[in-house]
């Protein structure tokens, strides 16, 4: 069943003028968001990823009417944000990257103001405030002045403000920044809950967070949408394609190569100091990513089963041959790897970033895995052809 589309973004662009010359002649402009199109359906949690300055916040500001786009159209629940701003904005709850707090007010006063701004009637007011305080763990802080709260609590007030009128669309710009781990888990749970009845769009730098709470992921880099997929497709991207095993004694690689579905076997330098081996085994259940999503998930399941079979086979061989197996696990390509491989296309940029962050290794790893993935699919295709 097609679900109701709550946000429809078409070819959205936003340029900032860097230097404005005389007579208003534009000399230099930066394009923060470049030709982005996507939809958000009811009951969907959309994760928005990207390095700093990629245009995440700009996009969110445009969606909430804080910035007017240079080009393109935004429809909120079928209403154009430019033509019917008031009706459209009533459907949105927004937490910007800096929570918009009037710090001289108490939490209760502030939330009451936000609720009234969003046209909540007087008799529902108290209930709305209580619910949103409870959801954000602020019940005991209602009487405190916001300025005296810690950063994490101020962030909670920001979230409470965004959900107070239970809007159809909740847009959160890095909602879990500054929160303690317990609260982070609570907020993630809250976002999941919200995602069941409303739509949520959130940006974050914490990739596992996106992985656990979102059912759609978008990666934006230098203003362009470089990756847009459901979490299933992403999991397929990240499926097991290698198994790593560590043994106490010497391993006969030939024995492993005899097994089917083995692509290649690598021996790693052993870090344990004894004669044992650490081995990476690549399996050959890769397939083209151009298949339809249904097929994909089936294939992924098949691939997953193959990986399980293979590891069981490995365990039994290791037992027979007395290799002294003490560790075996499947390696997955993480969201980080995909993120890095997609956002670091420019090699000089990558080098610069890598040198600074010490993340170069991760990027290379991601890139090489991506390459390996492509190679294996290529080989699989050739195999199918012959």
């Amino acid at each position: 069943m097609e679900r109701e589309i709550l946000i429809e973004v078409k070819q959205l662009s936003r340029a900032f003028v860097k230097n404005k010359g005389f007579y208003g002649k534009i000399h230099d402009q930066t394009i923060a968001v470049d030709d982005i199109s996507f939809n958000l359906q009811r009951g969907e949690v959309l994760g928005f990823l990207g390095p700093n300055g990629a245009g995440k916040s700009t996009t969110m500001q445009m969606l909430t009417g804080n910035l007017a786009p240079s080009h393109g159209s935004i429809k909120i629940g079928g209403l154009d944000l430019m033509d019917n701003p008031i009706e459209a904005k009533a459907m949105i709850g927004y937490l910007p990257d800096t929570p918009p707090l009037y710090k001289e007010l108490t939490v209760d006063e502030y939330l009451a103001y936000c609720a009234r701004l969003n046209k909540i009637s007087n008799h529902k007011l108290q209930q709305a405030i209580n619910t949103s305080k409870e959801r954000c763990g602020l019940t005991e802080h209602g009487k405190r002045v916001i300025n005296n709260l810690s950063k994490g609590y101020q962030q909670r007030v920001g979230i409470a403000q965004a959900i107070i009128h239970s809007p159809d669309i909740v847009i959160l710009d890095e909602p879990t920044v500054g929160l303690d781990p317990i609260q982070m888990i609570a907020i993630r749970k809250l976002i999941k809950e919200l995602g069941e009845t409303h739509s949520v769009m959130l940006s974050s730098h914490i990739l596992p967070e996106i992985q656990t709470i979102c059912n759609n992921v978008q990666i934006i880099n230098q203003g362009k949408l470089v990756f847009n997929a459901s979490i299933e497709q992403l999991n397929h991207h990240m499926q097991t394609h290698s198994i790593r095993m560590k043994c106490r004694h010497k391993v006969d690689v030939k024995k492993i190569k005899l097994l089917d579905t083995i692509q290649s076997v690598e021996i790693e330098q052993n870090t344990m100091g004894d004669e044992g081996d650490s081995i990476i085994i690549h399996c050959s259940h890769q397939h083209s990513s151009n298949d339809s999503s249904l097929k994909d998930s089936l294939l992924t399941e098949k691939g997953q089963n193959a990986a399980i079979d293979l590891s069981q086979q490995l365990i039994s061989i290791a037992e027979q041959q007395q290799w002294g197996l003490y560790e075996i696990y499947s390696e997955k390509q993480t969201l980080e790897d995909i993120f890095m491989s997609l956002t670091c296309v420019d090699p000089t940029h990558e080098a610069r970033l890598g040198a600074r962050l010490g993340a170069r290794l991760g990027a290379r790893l991601g890139a090489s895995r991506e390459k390996a993935l492509l190679e294996t699919t290529e080989e699989a295709r050739q195999g199918a052809d012959t």
Binding site: A68, I92, T98, E109, L117
Partner: protein, 249 residues
């Protein structure tokens, strides 16, 4: 919605010491002026009473008091209006208003009326001084209300101009200085026109020139319309400016 924004503005004002300080300082200074004026009036009273058509206490005490109030508030209103938009822009709380289902007009009108509400409280407290004279003598109530109306209109104009200046910058201090400059300039703009005979265009633009007749009790619709146009102009400019904040620039 306008009322809500106005009330929050008023509440925030009273939560900071600024509002109390402004109320106290204006009251003290005007009180001193009032008492000094009253004392000199008492000294001249005997001599004045023999003159025919002599100016009464309303002319000699109340009008100068309210004229003094206008000058003091010329200095104070920019301090009240400076934070209106610029501080919200700086603390990024403007986002809250921009993402809420309210129009730019409602935001500006709410902010404007919030400050106007505060100034009405101030005006009421100033009005108590001339009204206290009713205990001992008779005053020209018509002239008093005309002068109070003039003071109210001039304050409303100051607020509108200050609000517009506040939308132009993120720095409250710059907003305060520029609105003070603008108001003072509009106050003294008739200096250039004084040398030539009759009414010049420049003196017509002066805020002061339209206030003086009202102080004397001359209620001319031209003066009222001048203030209303002044307020309207700056409010429309503020709304336009606020809308422009979102556009590509």
């Amino acid at each position: 919605m306008i009322k809500l924004i106005a009330l929050r503005e008023l509440k925030s004002l009273f939560l900071s010491p600024l509002a109390w300080a402004i109320l106290a300082v204006t009251q003290i200074i005007l009180c001193y002026q009032f008492l000094a004026q009253l004392e000199s009036y008492l000294q001249f009273q005997a001599r004045l009473s023999v003159l025919q058509d002599s100016p009464g206490i309303t002319d000699l005490v109340i009008s100068p008091l309210l004229a003094g109030a206008a000058i003091i508030l010329l200095l104070i209103v920019p301090l009240l209006t400076m934070r209106l938009i610029s501080e919200e822009q700086r603390n990024q709380t403007l986002t809250l208003l921009f993402s809420a289902p309210v129009s730019m007009t409602q935001i500006i009108m709410g902010k404007y009326l919030g400050i106007l509400g505060f100034l009405s409280i101030l005006l009421f407290m100033i009005a108590l001084m001339p009204l206290s004279l009713l205990l001992g003598t008779r005053i020209d109530l018509g002239q008093l209300f005309s002068a109070l109306l003039g003071l109210f209109l001039i304050l409303a104009s100051f607020t509108a101009a200050g609000l517009y200046m506040s939308t132009l910058t993120k720095q409250p201090a710059i907003a305060a200085v520029s609105s003070f400059g603008l108001l003072l300039f509009l106050w003294i703009i008739n200096w250039a026109g004084n040398s030539t005979e009759g009414e010049s265009v420049l003196s017509y633009f002066s805020v002061l020139n339209h206030f003086e007749p009202l102080l004397k009790g001359i209620f001319s619709s031209a003066d009222i319309i001048y203030y209303l146009l002044f307020i309207g102009l700056f409010l429309v400019l503020s709304i336009r400016r606020l809308e422009r904040l979102r556009l590509p620039h």
